[in-house]
Amino acid sequence: MGYKQYILVCGGTACESNQGIALFNALKSAVISNGLVNDVQVVRTGCLGFCEKGPIVKILPQDTFYVEVKPEDAETIVKEHIVKGRVVSRLLYDKKQSQINVGIEGIDFYQKQFRIVLRNCGVIDPDKIDEYIARDGYKALEKVLFTMKPQEVVDEVSKSGLRGRGGAGFPTGKKWSFAAAQPAGQKYMVCNADEGDPGAYMDRSTLEGDPHSVLEAMTIAGYAIGADKGFIYIRAEYPLAIQRLETAIAQSREYGLLGKDILGSGFSFEIEIRLGAGAFVCGEETALLASIEGKRGMPKPRPPFPAVKGLWGCPTVINNVETLANIPVILTKGGLWFSKIGTATSKGTKVFALTGKINNSGLIEVPMGTTLREIIFDIGGGIRNGKAFKAAQTGGPSGGMIPPQFLDTPIDYENLGKIGSIMGSGGLIVMDEDDCIPNIAKFYLDFTVDESCGKCAPCRIGGRKLLDYLKKICNGDGTNADIENMQEISEAMARASLCGLGQTASNPVKSSLRYFMDEYKEHIDEKKCRAGKCKNLLRYTIDAAKCVGCTACARVCPANAIAGERKQPHVIDKTKCIKCGQCFEVCKFHAVNRA
């Protein structure tokens, strides 16, 4: 018993509907006719994420990945690949189609993902420090403590080109060098694990899956800048991540990888966890520091920057979880290695939490410079139910909506800025034709207005005003003057707000006005919502020519707004209709119109 090879055939919806079943059967018969039933198993898989190039066939254990395979190819695959061991090159995925710059030689893969931050997530048991150590964990710390001077550590990080993954993209090496340059004395290292962007969970997953990578990085940073104390600021809603961090900290202390005289090097470092109440603004660095100090989490004007005057007035470096998770790898593999991955200005990889109208939602890590198209269609498996892509939002409530014309733009800090969005922390929400743009902008403004701390007027008042205009437009009461006002307010907020929350809160509005003006215009001039999301703008009517009088709509209507005899065309009473849309859903004859 035991097969020698396995032919995996994608059984995901996209591949199956593209002759996938015929292909599966053809492969099975080819295996039988070639007398290989005892040597080869043909198996169906779930979606392999490459739906655009389906149907997909993968051969194990060789890991050969064939794309756009037709039933006629089955015989060739079995005769050539299985029997003779010769790869069928015409069916291979053509790597040249991908423009990703991974810059590292000797790596040959069809996959678009490239895991540095998530290197141990899903591989090790996060509760076992030994497994982290076996995967070269604490090797960077070893190297740093025993072979490098603090300045050399800072230089190596600078050389890597790593930039902050918490939103602003500030060069990490530079930030460290500011704090390192401050006179010796009490300094602090803080990890920002607040992750307030709705739809983002990269940092949570990293901490849950690989907590030691962050502890190791913080200790290295402490050594580099001359800090002996670190804080991890994490929201209380992340109980599992907190629990795993606590376990990890206890284990590191036991091993002497945290605490006094680490590994006998003479360097001491301690880490404490501080819980946040989950306010979005507490993720902003100055508000976060205030919160750790036990004060109300409100932003302060900068300068002074935390690297000069931070926690309790001492030099403090604040880094995001993902930024930190890169550090051990940069130090073991070298800054140069890291700097070869990505684009000219943005090095390394980025983790995204892919959600929304996408087939394969999940956590992905791709080299900087990967395009939205590759992320959405080659990794994410495309848009759900074969609908059309409308926009993608990066950066959560601080980001902008990216329209289809930029699907092929390589993603990095600069390019996203140019097209009116931001990298943000890594939430990536995909919208399809059924999403209403003004409505989504309203959702984000609703969030930021709620989360504004109220300290400064541009954010507090401007945000509220923008939200009011958006509500008005979605209700069908918008005017063209509203659009102009929104544009002005957006600019003012971006310029005059005190912190990043207010400065970026208008991005969803600005970007959507820039790329989706036609949808705003439709709402205002034609009182029409093409996505059918703005209730007030909808009219339900029944097409008498199509209605067969099945009574399904009348039975489902909660407002008793539909009248009509059996087998006679039905009619909706506009005055009674509450626009719930149930008749539209239930009619099998597409006789109910929504406009």
Binding site: M1, Q41, Q111, R115, I124, E131, L240
Partner: protein, 129 residues
């Protein structure tokens, strides 16, 4: 465990690397690894984990180690389970409820055949190590 010196740490790493490479902690030659991040647990990973352990017990199988790990990134297919068995390719199964977990024990571990309709692609090559 007492505090480590540099040499202790290196020795520990070497030892652990060997056992992990052999994939043979305490005479077990196969592993079933269940993704237990927040998304996995929300999707029922704990039930799956328990079902697998119970089924292995019921069948008197002692050579399989059941482990937990963090999120593999395949949130659309949680719970996810990775199976490493001798002379078989390493595979990740998605949407593994308790029943599928038991099926993995029967088909994959005992029967040495892959379970239909649940295989997912490994998200990426292991480049950093």
């Amino acid at each position: 465990m007492a505090k480590l010196t540099l040499n202790d740490l290196r020795k520990l790493r070497d030892e652990k690397q060997k056992t992990m490479a052999k994939r043979d902690p305490s005479h077990k030659d196969a592993q079933i690894i269940v993704g237990m991040g927040t998304c996995g647990i929300a999707a029922g990973a704990k039930e799956t984990f328990n079902a697998i352990i119970d089924e292995l017990d019921a069948k008197g199988i002692t050579h399989v180690l059941v482990r937990q790990t963090g999120c593999m990134g395949l949130c659309h297919s949680e719970p996810t389970v990775e199976v490493i068995a001798p002379n078989m390719p390493v595979v990740i199964y998605g949407n593994v409820d308790a029943e599928t977990g038991r099926q993995i024990v029967h088909a994959h571990i005992i029967g040495k055949t892959l379970v239909d309709n649940h295989i997912c692609d490994k998200p990426a090559m292991d480049i950093v190590r």
